[in-house]
């Protein structure tokens, strides 16, 4: 499936599937890809699947359509292309991209002896490889030492900027690294604001000892130069300064040097990195006396900073992309959750309204039977909303079971008793056949009640109105067993093998409007929180058996002073 994913712009996070039909892109509501961007035309561009691939065509838009910063009229899109329309940037991905399909077919893995004349000439272990990045040996040539040092810096930069989805953290790391390698006093990173196109400060640092309130002033001319020419610049207010000849001016002013480099990404400049250093008058004169130069920054520093800027830009692009993807996923999940829950609540509300209406009808006509029927519906829906809320609470947060020694049969008996009325309405025979000599176990009775209740509810629904419908709850345990089994068996419709992996997924329900899709996930969560597991065996058309396995060796937490409540008392010796 080919998609266009909005990475920047007001629609950030939206995803548009590119199917067989032509899709137009624009700000008008008639476009399938409608973008809230005042800088794009009403009908801006068209995306069409052709025999050769996905074709993007500009529809004579006012501000143009760009692919990877290049203005286009018509272009076949490739996986990873970035489409810019107005201020909106979209990433094109195509899972069916032919360029990545058959690569594996060209590779055969064969034994060493199968390639004539092939032999291992030399081996290098992991340790030897990493020696390349060790600090340079002072004895080797200055050129090689410098090259190795730069390679080490780039290697460490690449490592440092990976594995983060937090853009602030990423920028902070980059500035820290620059301070480690370049003797600068102050540094800052400015990123291009996608809304305004302006550079905005995103991270800054002062070297220890440099006054934090010393604001960085950066020449607009330098920034414009760097952005327009995509080149790094090295500036000094002493170099080429006629005043330099007069040592008197150095005594007064000192020397301020700066490096400003573009953050050149794959498809454009994402920002700039600026660093500067200040040499006080006395040090500048001393430095000039010994080295004939008053400068700390050299061309070598500039080249290194350009390389770091490029590496940092790639990382910023990746981080922005993954953050946008993550945000889109979050929004999608949140939207689905809200929609699903709203639907269930709406159905429950409908039931309550119906029951209330019947009560009103019965009262008006003095018909107690109608009142009773109305009340039963209200009561049932009250129970449904209560169960929904409890399931939502149980599912939404991790909870340590409140373990205590309890009678498992008693908990199960409570569930069966509670469900008898519902089973009766559904014409289902609900039976409990406990193992009589079951010892007491450690579990959370309240949570386990909910876990079993959900499974029994499902079992009743599964065989509702079937001839001879029966749900059986049993317990299985033998002395020495690691687990006690609660078995809920029904002779209902059963579950298709392909559906079984999905039944414990949240919001996956096969019960239509009756199911919330929370019951089994909640049961699974509770049993797992006890250290157990829930599994199912099912035959389509014949019924299902759910096994709730509960560890038999759990022990209750030992009470300590911390865990006792405010009214608990300890032995007097505890206070002595």
């Amino acid at each position: 499936m080919a998609t266009l994913f909005v990475m920047q712009g007001r629609d950030k996070g939206k995803r548009f599937d590119v199917r067989t039909e032509a899709l137009t892109m624009g700000r008008d509501g008639t476009n399938r890809i409608q973008l809230n961007d005042s800088e794009i035309s009403r009908r801006h561009a068209e995306v069409l699947r052709s025999d050769n691939g996905i074709r993007l065509t500009d529809l004579n838009s006012s501000n143009g359509t760009f692919v990877n910063t290049e203005k286009i009229d018509v272009r076949l899109l490739k996986n990873g292309d970035r489409v810019q329309v107005g201020r909106t940037l979209l990433l094109f991905t195509d899972a069916d991209d032919r360029s990545s399909v058959n690569l594996a077919h060209d590779v055969n893995i064969v034994g060493l002896g199968e390639i004539e004349g092939s032999r291992i000439v030399r081996t290098v272990g992991h340790d030897s490889g990493s020696q390349l990045f060790q600090p340079p040996d002072m004895a080797e040539s200055p050129w090689l030492a410098r090259a190795r040092s730069n390679l080490q810096i780039m290697y460490r930069t690449a490592l440092a900027v990976s594995h983060t989805l937090d853009i602030d953290q990423l920028l902070g790391r980059i500035v820290d690294l620059i301070f480690e390698w370049v003797e600068s006093d102050r540094g800052c990173i400015m990123l291009v604001d996608h809304e305004t196109g302006e550079l905005t400060p995103a991270a800054s640092r002062n070297r220890k000892g440099v006054r934090a309130d010393d604001r960085i002033s950066i020449s607009r001319t330098i920034l414009d130069y760097v952005m327009q020419h995509k080149e790094g610049v090295l500036t000094s207010d002493a170099r080429d300064d006629e005043r330099w000849n007069s040592e008197g001016s150095i005594v007064r002013l000192g020397v301020r040097e700066a490096i400003c480099v573009p953050m050149q990404g794959r498809y454009g400049i994402v920002g700039v990195i600026y660093i500067d250093t200040y040499t006080p008058p006395s040090a500048a004169i001393q430095q000039r006396t010994f080295s004939n130069s008053s400068n700390k920054f050299s061309e070598e520093h500039l080249k290194l900073m350009v390389a770091i800027g490029h590496q940092a830009a790639l990382a910023v692009e990746d981080t922005s992309y993954y953050s946008a993807m993550l945000q889109a996923e979050r929004l999608a999940v949140m939207g689905q959750t809200i929609a699903t829950l709203s639907h269930h609540i709406k159905n429950i509300l409908q039931g309550i309204r119906g029951g209330s209406y019947l009560i009103e009808e019965g009262l008006k006509g003095d018909d107690n039977d109608v009142v009773r029927r109305g009340w039963r519906i209200v009561d049932k829906n009250q129970e449904r909303i209560s169960n929904l809320v409890m399931d939502m609470l149980t599912f939404s947060k991790p909870r340590e079971p409140d373990l205590c020694l309890a009678d498992l049969n008693e908990t199960l008996s409570d569930v069966v008793e509670l469900m008898q009325a519902r089973a009766g309405e559904a014409a289902v025979q609900l039976v409990f056949e406990p193992r009589r000599d079951l010892p007491q176990f450690c579990f959370d009775p309240e949570l386990l009640h909910r876990a079993v209740l959900n499974v029994v509810t499902n079992a009743i629904d599964a065989c509702e109105k079937r001839a001879g419908a029966r749900v059986e709850v049993t317990t299985e345990f033998a002395t020495g067993d690691q687990f006690v089994h609660i078995v809920v068996a029904d002779n209902g419709e059963g579950i298709a093998p392909e559906d079984i992996p999905r039944i414990f997924s949240v919001f996956e329900s096969r019960k239509g409007s009756r199911g919330t899709g929370l019951g089994l996930p909640v049961s699974q969560k509770i049993i797992r929180e006890h250290g157990g597991e829930i599994r199912v065996e099912s035959t389509l058309g014949a019924g299902s058996r759910f096994y709730l396995e509960l560890p038999s060796q759990l022990s209750p937490p030992t009470a300590s002073r911390d865990t006792l409540g405010p009214n608990a008392t300890l032995g007097s010796e505890a206070f002595e």
Binding site: Q350, R353, Y357, L358, R373
Partner: protein
């Protein structure tokens, strides 16, 4: 002459929720109407052909009710001679053109719905 013109008004309820069917059936029977019920849209169509109801109440959440062909058949039944009148519970659908007051969004209040059914049944009779 259809059955409905000879007897008391007949209403077909096509609704997946047993509770909602019960509320509608009880309320309408108390008003002297005859009720047919279906929990599934295709079964509802069969009942409609068989009993020629005066009013059909179709919940779009009923199984198969989202099927365009099924919607078309309900729509064509309703349009043929303005009877049965159709009420849709849910939202407007493209396949069936209905007056706005015959499309009732959920969650709805039963009072106005019952009143609307009574009106349409009286008109059909």
């Amino acid at each position: 002459m259809s059955q409905s013109s000879r007897l008391s008004p007949c209403v077909l309820i096509v609704e997946p929720s047993a509770e909602e069917r019960e509320v509608l059936r009880t309320s309408l029977e108390r008003r002297g109407m005859r009720i047919w019920e279906a929990a599934e849209a295709k079964a509802g169509l069969e009942l409609a052909r068989l009993h020629e109801p005066d009013v059909i109440v179709l919940d779009l959440e009923t199984q198969h009710a989202e099927d365009e062909q099924v919607q078309f058949e309900y729509g064509s039944q309703a349009v043929a001679d303005a009877r049965p009148a159709l009420i849709i519970l849910g939202r407007a659908c493209r396949t069936i053109a209905l007056p706005k007051d015959q499309v009732i969004a959920k969650p709805y209040h039963y009072g106005p719905l019952i009143h609307k059914i009574e009106q349409l049944a009286a008109k059909a009779a």
